[in-house]
Symmetry: C2
Subunit: 292 residues, 2 copies
């Protein structure tokens, strides 16, 4: 049984924390939203007065916050790092730029705590089903220590390297492919629509051919709806492809396709549609190519 301080009880974090509780771990929530702390308490989680109190005596501090700035807030400004016992593990699971992750890791290391860079993929559905993919970069010893925690929330658990930032890089590459795959389906549909081809038939054909992708099958049908339910928002890819390009700048690697895809999500958000389902990046192509 591990005692876990869990920061960030949102759409991903709350079900992850619930799965940790269901596997017998102790979980103390950290969130600015009192409703999230209520939901955690209802599932058996502990209430504490704040981040530092939650981290006090904990074995692991999981950060499933929005971005690197929030992780720094919890760790350094709110005092969670100093409150965590020496040798305790800070496990950053949010999607952050690899460079920012490496910089946070340095400060955690300097404070005598251990750092695990472990972003996840699988979305809300994977968080609920405890079937997340976990891409961990850390010392082998810390990876072993984290096993009971990882196995409570994930299904495919990888040790991708020893250097903090390598996990974030793998997640970044994952998001590069995901974002481009969504945008290019929209691009392909805009050409087909302009040429008067039936998009339902097209989708059926492409889904069974070498042109297929996980995103084509998942987002393609939603692109044919005007107002699909929001599974993941446009603004998530504005952020994540932004992280991809930041990782490219840090590594000094040109990423021309990802850069174009980012522009299409950005323009969608810029028209005030950032909260729409990410399949609606197709609206940028509709605008661009004069389709309705």
């Amino acid at each position: 049984m591990t005692t876990i301080a869990f920061a960030g009880l949102g759409a991903m974090g709350l079900p992850m924390a619930r799965n940790l509780l269901a596997r017998g771990h102790r979980v103390r929530g950290i969130d600015i939203n009192p409703g999230a702390l209520d939901a955690l308490a209802a599932a058996g989680g502990e209430r504490t007065p704040g981040a530092a109190a939650a981290a006090e005596g904990a074995d692991v501090l999981i950060l499933m916050v929005i971005n690197a700035a929030q992780a720094e807030q919890v760790l350094f400004a709110d005092g969670a790092l100093q409150a965590l016992p020496e040798g305790g593990i800070v496990c950053l699971m949010a999607t952050c730029p690899p460079g920012a992750v490496a910089r946070i890791a340095e400060r955690v290391d300097a404070a005598g705590r251990r750092f695990v860079d472990a972003p996840v993929s699988g979305g809300t559905a994977g968080a609920i089903a405890a079937s997340l993919t976990i891409m961990a970069a850390c010392e082998r010893e810390s990876f072993k220590t984290m096993q009971p925690v990882f196995q409570a929330i994930g299904q495919r658990i990888f040790h991708v390297g020893e250097r903090p930032g390598q996990g974030a890089t793998v997640k970044t590459v994952n998001q590069l492919l995901c974002g481009v795959h969504i945008a290019v389906v929209a691009e392909a549909f805009s050409l087909a629509a302009k040429a008067g081809v039936d998009l339902d038939v097209l989708l059926e054909i492409m889904g069974g051919s070498a042109a297929s992708s996980w995103m084509l099958k998942d987002r393609g049908p939603r692109m044919l709806q005007a107002e699909p339910e929001v599974s993941s928002a446009v603004d998530i890819f504005v952020k994540d492809l932004g992280i991809v390009l930041e990782a490219g700048r840090e590594a000094k690697a040109a990423l021309p396709i990802a850069a174009v895809a980012h522009q299409m999500f950005l323009a969608t958000s810029g028209r005030g549609e950032g909260r729409a389902d990410d399949s609606q990046v197709i609206r940028s192509y509709h605008r661009l190519n004069g389709l309705t």
Copy 2:
């Protein structure tokens, strides 16, 4: 039993013609390469003095040539169209720009013959296994007539529209997705390599995540080899993404991601590597981003 004049006995055409023979159809070959005609004869095909002689008395003339110019050569310059009986079917299965297909269809129609726009996907493997996907655009009656022929060579047979060029558009959209999916895997790998991430582990993770695509699984492993066996050449995508962009110009549709992907294949070919396996578009990213 259908009598078929078959033009273009290359890597795709020869196995297709063999499958037609195996299903009891009569096949007369048309090819400038005598070796290809020998191979067809060995499988039970008929020799004729040329395109016009092959088309004389045939029910169907299949064109599985390299491009639209070769199709026009066989049909109009070599006299196959005039030799084909009135009401006979010209079935264009090569990958051609939708506009060029529509223009050929008009001339076939004006000559009193029927036109079927029916490109295929599935590659050499699909041609050999008779498991091609066929995307046919033509009148419903002609689609019915073609069934015994299509079923001898394909597995997934779609009637995508009545207007010639719509089949070509579907194939074009297919190639847009295929070409971009290959190039973006190369782009993702170049970022990962620059950041020092193990590409075998990366490939394993991506292959089971939302970042997956048919091309990632097929071409990804070949990108990690320096000189993989050639399954399909870089120059095929120089041509096919060229057709994509031509279709975009004809439809007046901007295709920014496809345009970038085309440049990466084009540059690979420009360095004299056009005959390498198309996974080797990754070499353009290696050059661009200074990797070896």
